[in-house]
C-alpha cells in the first residue's frame, strides 16, 4: 500500500468547522490541507461606518470562547488611535479579566478537548467514567475562570462591562472577597492540573519553530508589549503589517499568515512561555521545573502542560491583582475621538490577536484589519502534520487519523476566529 489518503471530514473537539486532508504517495506526504469551511462572516466589512466604541462589542462576536481577547485588542487599538494610555487599577482590572478568559478557555481545552486524546477517550463525558475526579476538578477550575469574567463583565460569553477608556462600572474592594476564596482553591487545582498533564505520555516530536509572542519589560504579557520572536524579531505593535503577511489559499476560508522574512511561525501558549519564562510568577516557574519542563519546550504535544502552567499563572496573577486592588476614582477616562489609525495587539488564549482601525474625525470606523491567532498557526499546523505523519505511516488508519487530529488539537485551533475575516486585506492592495 504505497498511496493512501487520510480524510477527516469534520474535525471534532475544536471550535468551529474544519477538515483535514492528507495525501500520501510513495511513503511520503504529498499534500496536507487543513481545510476551514466555516462560512465567512465579514466583520471588517460591516465595522465600517460604526462608531469607535462599538468595535469591541461587535468583534467579540467573532469568538464566543475568547470574547475578551477581541474586546481588549479593539479597545487598545482605539485608545492607541486617540493617544490615550490607561494605567493604574483600570489597567489591572483588564489584566484580571484576561486572567479569567485564559483560565476558562485553557481549562476547556485541557480537560474537555485535549486530555481525552492522551487518555484514549472520544470525549470528556466518556473520560469522566474512569477519571471522574479529574474531570470534576477541571470543571470547577473552568468555572473559576468564568466566575472572574462574569463578576467583572456581567456574563461569561460576550461580557458587557468593557468600554474604550475603562469600564462601565468598577467593583468595590470588598466585593472581591468571595472571588478570591474561589481563586485560592483554583490555584491548588491548577497545580494539580500541571502535575496531572505532565504524567501523560508524549510522542517524541520536536520542530525548530520560530515562536512569536508579546514581551513586556515587567510582566507576563496580556495586553501590552513588543512583538518578539525566538529568532530575534523585536518590533512595536504598529509594525505588525510590515513584517507579517497573509495569503488567501483556495482550500481554506481563512487567510494564512507568514513572516515576510522567515515563513511559518508559531503563536500561543508555547510561544509565550518560551519567550517569557522569566516573567512567570515564582510559583509557576517552580512548578514547571518540578514537573521537569525546561524553560524552552519545542514539543507541541506538551502544549497541554504549558496551558496548565498558564492557568496556574493566571490564578496567581488574579489573586495578586485582587490583593492590590483599590477602587479607581473614575470607572473610565474621558475619550475624545480624533481621526487617525490605531493598533492593538493582545495575547488571546490561542496567541497573538492583532487589530488595526482607521478612524475619522467624528469617531467613525473607515477601515479595519483583524488577524486572529489560528490563521497565524495554520501553516505551522500543516507543517507539523507533514513531519509527524511520515515516520508513522505504518500505523493503522484509525490510529493515524486520531494522532493527526491530536496534532491539530495541540494548537487549540479556533476556527470560528480564523474565518471571520477572510477579506479586507484586499482593499489595501
Amino acid at each position: 500500500m504505497k498511496n493512501k489518503t487520510i480524510k477527516v471530514d469534520y474535525l471534532a473537539r475544536v471550535e468551529g468547522e474544519g477538515a483535514l486532508y492528507l495525501k500520501i504517495k510513495d511513503q511520503k506526504v504529498s499534500d496536507v490541507k487543513l481545510k476551514i469551511f466555516e462560512p465567512p462572516r465579514y466583520f471588517e466589512a460591516f465595522l465600517r461606518g460604526r462608531q469607535f466604541d462599538e468595535a469591541h462589542d461587535i468583534t467579540s462576536r467573532i469568538c464566543g470562547i475568547c470574547p475578551i481577547a477581541y474586546q481588549m485588542s479593539a479597545i487598545h487599538a482605539m485608545e492607541n488611535a486617540f493617544g490615550v494610555k490607561i494605567d493604574g487599577q483600570i489597567r489591572a482590572l483588564r489584566r484580571l479579566l484576561y486572567c479569567g478568559e485564559w483560565i476558562e478557555s485553557h481549562v476547556l481545552h485541557i480537560y474537555l478537548l485535549h486530555a481525552p486524546d492522551f487518555l484514549g477517550f472520544d470525549d470528556a463525558f466518556q473520560m469522566a467514567k474512569d477519571h471522574g475526579a479529574a474531570v470534576e476538578r477541571g470543571l470547577t477550575l473552568k468555572k473559576a475562570g468564568n466566575d472572574i469574567v462574569e463578576f467583572l463583565g456581567g456574563r461569561e460569553v460576550h461580557p458587557v462591562n468593557v468600554r474604550v477608556g475603562g469600564f462601565y462600572k468598577t467593583p468595590s474592594k470588598k466585593e472581591f472577597s468571595a472571588l478570591k476564596e474561589k481563586l485560592e482553591k483554583a490555584r491548588d487545582a491548577a497545580i494539580e492540573t500541571v502535575r496531572w498533564t505532565s504524567e501523560f505520555s508524549y510522542p517524541d516530536f520536536e520542530m525548530d519553530y520560530e515562536f512569536v509572542a508579546l514581551r513586556h519589560a515587567d510582566e507576563y504579557p496580556f495586553n501590552e508589549g513588543r512583538i518578539v520572536s525566538s529568532r530575534g524579531l523585536d518590533i512595536g505593535v504598529e509594525d505588525f503589517e510590515s513584517h507579517f503577511e497573509e495569503t488567501h489559499v483556495e482550500h481554506s476560508n481563512a487567510l494564512h499568515s507568514y513572516l515576510k522574512t522567515g515563513g511559518n511561525y508559531f503563536v500561543g501558549p508555547m510561544a509565550r512561555y518560551n519567550l517569557n519564562f522569566d516573567k512567570l510568577s515564582p510559583l509557576t516557574r517552580e512548578v514547571a521545573l518540578e514537573v521537569g519542563l525546561s524553560p524552552v519546550c519545542r514539543n507541541p504535544f506538551k502544549s497541554i502542560i504549558i496551558r496548565s502552567l498558564e492557568v496556574l499563572y493566571a490564578c496567581d496573577e488574579a489573586i495578586r491583582i485582587i490583593d492590590e486592588y483599590e477602587k479607581p476614582k473614575v470607572d473610565a477616562v474621558e475619550i475624545e475621538p480624533r481621526s487617525g489609525v490605531g493598533f492593538g495587539c493582545t495575547e488571546a488564549p490561542r496567541g497573538l490577536l492583532y487589530h488595526r482601525y482607521e478612524i475619522d474625525e467624528k469617531g467613525f470606523i473607515l477601515d479595519s484589519k483583524i488577524v486572529p491567532p489560528t490563521s497565524q498557526n495554520q501553516n505551522t499546523i500543516e507543517e507539523d502534520l507533514r513531519h509527524f505523519v511520515e515516520p508513522r505511516l505504518t500505523l493503522p488508519d484509525e490510529k493515524l487519523q486520531w494522532q493527526c487530529e491530536q496534532t491539530i488539537r495541540n494548537y487549540d485551533p479556533c476556527i470560528s476566529c480564523a474565518t471571520h475575516f477572510l477579506k479586507l486585506e484586499i482593499e489595501r492592495e
Binding site: 471534532a12 462572516r41 456581567g154 479586507l424
Partner: protein, 260 residues
C-alpha cells in the same frame, strides 16, 4: 420504574461564534448530570464520536449564509424530531445579517482577493426562514440557565418557562435604577426581550438589545424617546442594527427602511 431510553441530542453549528453551544459546556455544575441523562449523540465541539440520527432533539446554532448550509439545514430538520434554535444568529440572522442592508455584490468585488474561492449567499437568514422550528431561544449569547430550562422542559414533555416580556421587568426584579430615567442613558431595554437578567443596566449601561425584540414591542415609541434624549437618527438606527439586525421589529426601526 420504567427505564425510558435516553433521548438522543445533537448540536449543530452554522455561521456563528460558537458562544451559544459553548454555553452548554459552561454549565460546569450541571454538565455531567446532563451527560448522564441525555445521550450526546452528535456534538462535534465536544466529542469525536458520532451516533447516526435520527435525533430526538437538535440544538441549532448559527445562521444560513452559504448555499451548502441552506441544504444542510434541511437534512438536519429531516433527522430531528424536535429542532430548537439557540441564539441570535439562528433566530435573527446574527451580526453577520448586517450584510443584508448592503449591496453584497459590489461589496464582494471590492473586498475579496480571490472571490472565486468563496461561496456565500447575499443574505444571512434565520433557521426558521428555511425549515420549521419547534422553539427559538434568544440571546447573543443565550443564557445558559434558559438553555438548561429548555432541555429540561423537553425531557419532561412540558413547555419551556421562558418569558417573552421586556428587559424592563428584569430590571425591576433586580432592583436596578432605570438608567434611562435616572441618567438619561439611551437604553433598548423597553423593546428587548428579557433573559439576560438585565445585566447592562446593572453595570450602569444601557441595554444594547442582544436578546432581540420582545413580544408586541413598540419600536416607534422607543425611537421617539431616544430622539428626545438627543440621540441622532442615524445612531438610533445603528442601535437596532447589531446582533438581531434582521429581526422584523428591529430591521425597519429607527428610520426609513433601506433594506434590500
Amino acid at each position: 420504574m420504567n427505564q425510558k431510553p435516553k433521548i438522543k441530542l445533537a448540536v449543530w453549528k452554522f455561521a456563528s461564534c460558537d458562544g451559544c453551544q459553548l454555553s452548554l459546556l459552561n454549565c460546569e455544575e450541571e454538565l455531567l448530570t446532563v451527560a448522564e441523562n441525555i445521550h450526546i449523540a452528535y456534538f462535534p465541539e465536544a466529542t469525536r464520536s458520532v451516533t447516526e440520527g435520527p435525533y430526538d432533539l437538535s440544538l441549532v446554532e448559527g445562521s444560513i449564509t452559504t448555499p451548502h448550509d441552506a441544504e444542510r439545514i434541511k437534512e438536519v430538520r429531516q433527522i430531528s424530531k424536535n429542532l430548537i434554535t439557540i441564539g441570535a444568529c439562528a433566530t435573527a440572522g446574527g451580526i453577520q445579517a448586517l450584510r443584508n442592508f448592503q449591496d453584497v455584490k459590489d461589496f464582494t468585488q471590492i473586498v475579496y482577493a480571490q472571490p472565486e474561492y468563496i461561496e456565500t449567499l447575499e443574505k444571512s437568514t434565520t433557521i426558521a426562514d428555511h425549515v420549521q422550528v419547534d422553539f427559538e431561544l434568544r440571546g447573543c449569547p443565550i443564557n445558559k440557565y434558559q438553555l438548561l430550562e429548555v432541555i429540561n422542559a423537553f425531557l419532561n414533555e412540558r413547555k419551556p418557562n421562558v418569558s417573552p416580556h421586556s428587559v424592563c421587568l428584569e430590571c425591576k426584579l433586580r432592583g436596578n435604577i432605570c438608567v434611562m430615567v435616572a441618567h438619561g442613558t439611551p437604553c433598548l431595554g423597553p423593546v428587548t426581550q428579557a433573559g439576560c437578567g438585565a445585566i447592562c443596566p446593572a453595570y450602569n449601561r444601557g441595554c444594547y438589545g442582544c436578546f432581540g425584540p420582545s413580544e408586541s414591542t413598540n419600536t416607534k415609541s422607543m425611537s421617539n424617546w431616544l430622539a428626545n434624549l438627543g440621540v441622532p437618527q442615524e445612531e438610533i438606527k445603528r442601535m437596532y442594527r447589531t446582533f438581531n439586525a434582521d429581526a422584523d421589529e428591529f430591521k425597519n426601526a429607527g428610520g426609513e427602511s433601506d433594506e434590500k
